[in-house]
Symmetry: C2
Subunit: 106 residues, 2 copies
DNA sequence: ATTATACGCAACCAAATGGTTGCGTATTTT
DNA sequence: AAAATACGCAACCATTTGGTTGCGTATAAT
């Protein structure tokens, strides 16, 4: 169950903000991504690494700067998983409803 | 940005497993939920509280046991948020594609 | 009435997390 | 050539996290 790592990655305000900015298409070198986070570049870099390890972003070095890009495939995976949870829950409710109706039909 | 708390709640193997079991409609008292997790009831209880604080599950006391139920609304909220991230990312890609096509059209 | 079950509260612990500072190096800019 | 920028590595620190054990209490089963 590697799954949890994805949510863990999103489960921090700083990292979630990073992902949101990347999704909005904001500038995306490490230094730029650090701006407005209220922490140092090194601090931000450590959080970024968590996103990298969870395969939510990819880094590519270009000259002296490092480009940060969202890995949409991982986001989609998280999306599908949650959708599946909802689906099963709905099924359960439907089963319960059907049971009740069967028991109490006159 | 309370958002992050939701993902944080899912971002632990034990808690994610709990949510999965609840979504599957498994028995759902605290003790039953603890089974097969490989940790003590108290340990599980602490994890469960994280889910409660994130409003992902609701507890209701019935006699000597406590019923655990998934809060589907919160799951749906998480679902919608991720979907929105994807949507923005797609828009960005579309904009980039359009830009490239405009620049290089002959 | 006794025993067993389901639970809560609190103290405690090791490990992980979130962040910092200091320093070194490669690449650009001037 | 000198200065500035963008970055990495590592040590360090306080707080949070994930889990335990011990103990007390209310409800249910025998």
């Amino acid at each position: 169950m590697i799954e949890a790592e994805i949510y863990k990655a999103l489960g921090d305000p700083v990292r979630l903000q990073m992902v949101m900015r990347l999704a909005n298409g904001s500038p995306c070198t490490i230094s730029q991504l650090t701006q407005d986070l209220g922490i140092t570049r090194q601090g931000a870099r450590k959080q970024l690494q968590v996103l990298v390890d969870a395969k939510m972003v990819q880094l590519s070095s270009q000259g002296r700067e490092t480009r940060v890009d969202l890995d949409i495939a991982t986001l989609q995976q998280a999306h599908r998983f949650i959708a599946e949870l909802e689906r099963r829950w709905d099924q359960r409710l439907a089963a319960l409803k059907s049971f009740v109706e069967t028991e109490f039909e006159h």
